[in-house]
């Protein structure tokens, strides 16, 4: 009697999770499997017959002359982007935290870029980056930094750094937010004790603040890595992956395959490849998070 009631209650626990699980199964689980299925079919708009294609789409995607460049771009865009976001975000948060006056002002404006929709941010910067009418080139030339226009988005050697910069502008505030929030409850006792012992700021940073911040850095790291890797709007609106594929990342080319070249099979295959690559890049982070959670007894 007691046993069956207990198991009934146990089953009841799953009812809490069920609504959320159902929505995610239908709207995320089902499409991802359907996408996997599509990746094995010859599914293009130009061909009325949808036929089983084996691994042809995968072979075509992996032997595409763009593929090595796109993977390299994706890694550069993600790693460089996240590392810079992290370093600047943490530095800025610590700096603002140490300010005596103007904290509130800095916090207010530092978060603003995160609130601006990516599409708007992209168009705004694209306009400022333009060679002939862009304000940035205009200013740089008038103060003598350069005597000819810098082709921020047109020069394949510069374009990737330009889009990374804009993403930095947009995404660093999230790091700032997370670190600032964490610093609200920083271990003041330890810091004071260390100060009394004569420790200087770098020592306190290394031995007290950074260890204290490491869980939130790990969480934010996972999130921003994934978000950055899969981020599409910004590059799409600014360069569409060009010039010469210099800013083409996996999501951009996946989208182009489907909606520019009308090839859903190949697009689906590249999406699966992306998923695998993203997972590989994120597994170290995910393990870190899980070990942290386990330590804290949250599981």
């Amino acid at each position: 009697m007691k046993g069956s009631l207990g198991s009934l209650r146990k089953l009841g626990v799953y009812l809490y999770v069920l609504p959320a699980a159902l929505i995610m199964l239908v709207m995320l689980g089902y499409p991802i499997i359907y996408n996997f299925v599509i990746s094995f079919f010859n599914w293009t708009l130009r061909d009325p017959e949808i036929t089983f294609h084996g691994f042809t789409n995968y072979i075509r995607v992996l032997t595409d002359h763009r593929f090595p460049m796109i993977v390299t771009n994706t890694v550069v865009w993600t790693v460089l982007g996240v590392v810079l976001q992290m370093v600047i975000g943490i530095a800025l948060a610590l700096f603002v935290d140490s300010m005596r006056r103007g904290k509130k002002y800095m916090r207010t404006i530092a978060l603003l870029p995160w609130l601006i929709p990516g599409v708007v941010t992209a168009l705004m910067w694209r306009f400022m980056f333009q060679a002939d009418v862009g304000i940035i080139n205009s200013v740089l030339m008038s103060i003598g930094v350069t005597d000819r226009n810098i082709l921020f988005l047109a020069d394949p050697n510069i374009s990737m750094f330009s889009v990374i910069f804009v993403n930095l502008w947009r995404a660093t505030p999230f790091w700032f937010l997370m670190i600032t929030a964490a610093l609200q409850s920083k271990p003041i006792d330890q810091i004071e004790a260390a100060t009394l012992d004569g420790a200087r700021y770098p020592t306190i940073l290394r031995h007290v603040l950074l260890p204290y911040l490491s869980p939130v850095i790990a969480t934010t790291g996972v999130l921003t890595t994934i978000w950055t890797l899969n981020y599409f709007d910004l590059i799409w609106v600014m360069t569409r992956g060009g010039p010469l594929d210099s800013t083409s990342t996996l999501p951009v080319y996946t989208f182009r395959l489907a909606f520019e070249f009308n090839d859903f099979g190949r697009s689906a295959a590249l999406a699966v490849v992306s998923l695998i690559l993203v997972s590989i890049m994120c597994i170290p982070y995910i393990i870190k998070i899980f070990s942290n959670l386990k330590e804290r007894g949250a599981l």
Binding site: V13, Y16, L112, D132, S138
Partner: protein, 277 residues
């Protein structure tokens, strides 16, 4: 703390000034451009303040580009997603925070993995399926997709927040005869209000900004949200910068207003649960 030197203060001032310029200038430039006539936008050297002050770009945005309709649609999608995610997310987070069950780590891992999914994997399969089931251009379908995408992170954040509410409190309530759902409604949620606010705000910002799914799954102006409307100012011959900047300004006003009122909650709430222990 030691008294700060003049050099230190100068450096501080410099960083504050540089950050201010870097963050606010692009926004100022958007505002300024939106108030210029097209001819002046292409004038060299660029004019810092509009020489000819016009409202024609806003007039276009408000009358030709159907911004008021898009605006209301965006509000609908934000509210719909908020309701679904906060209800389902709270239930799930509560279940995982207060009860032990074996699949919990697996479920959390799955939640993380859903975050890894590129959104490009959703568009083609969902578009074909929605087409088959007559769910294209349907508010509920779009809200369901948005909710599914937002739920994993919301559950994570709420779980951290609920975990920070001491279990002793709801054990006491249970002894008083409260059921699990009552504990959630009467005890946990009120205590976790800042967390809910923060999660809600971050959902709202995301839904407001979302473009790719919106432009794929809505096919009429009556359903189209604001971001899809912005791509409307990209015409056949390209971007009309004045109009684009005006639409951009309009689209960020509500976010900034919401931000001014809710800023405290956002900062305190988003990581509050995750960090405080």
């Amino acid at each position: 703390m030691k008294k700060k030197s003049a050099a230190h203060r100068l450096a501080t001032l410099f960083i504050v000034a540089a950050a201010t310029l870097l963050i606010l200038f692009p926004l100022y430039w958007m505002l300024s451009t939106s108030l210029k006539p097209e001819a002046e936008i292409f004038q060299l050297p660029p004019t810092l303040l509009p020489e000819t002050f016009v409202l024609e770009n806003y007039e276009f945005a408000w009358t030709q580009a159907q911004i008021p309709i898009y605006f209301l649609n965006s509000v609908t999608y934000v509210l719909g997603t908020l309701v679904v995610v906060l209800i389902c997310g709270s239930l799930a987070a509560y279940g995982m925070s207060r009860f032990k069950f074996r699949g919990k780590p697996a479920f959390l891992l799955i939640l993380l993995l859903t975050q890894v999914m590129p959104m490009t994997t959703l568009i083609v399969p969902l578009f074909v399926s929605f087409g088959n089931f007559g769910l294209l251009n349907n508010r509920i379908a779009l809200i369901a997709v948005y909710s599914a995408i937002q739920l994993p992170l919301a559950i994570w954040l709420l779980l951290a927040y609920f975990n920070s509410v001491p279990k002793e409190i709801d054990e006491a309530a249970r002894i008083d005869g409260c059921t699990g759902l009552q504990v959630l409604l009467r005890i946990i949620l009120p205590l976790a209000k800042p967390g809910l606010m923060a999660v809600g705000l971050s959902i709202s910002i995301w839904v407001w900004q979302e473009l790719m799914l919106a432009m794929t799954f809505t096919t009429t102006d009556a359903m189209r949200p604001l971001m899809a409307g912005i791509s409307a100012s990209i015409g056949r011959a390209g971007v009309r910068w004045g109009q684009m900047n005006a639409v951009g300004m309009i689209s960020i006003v509500p976010i900034i207003i919401a931000y001014i009122f809710l800023q405290r909650n956002l900062v305190a709430g988003l990581t509050g649960g995750a960090v405080k222990e």
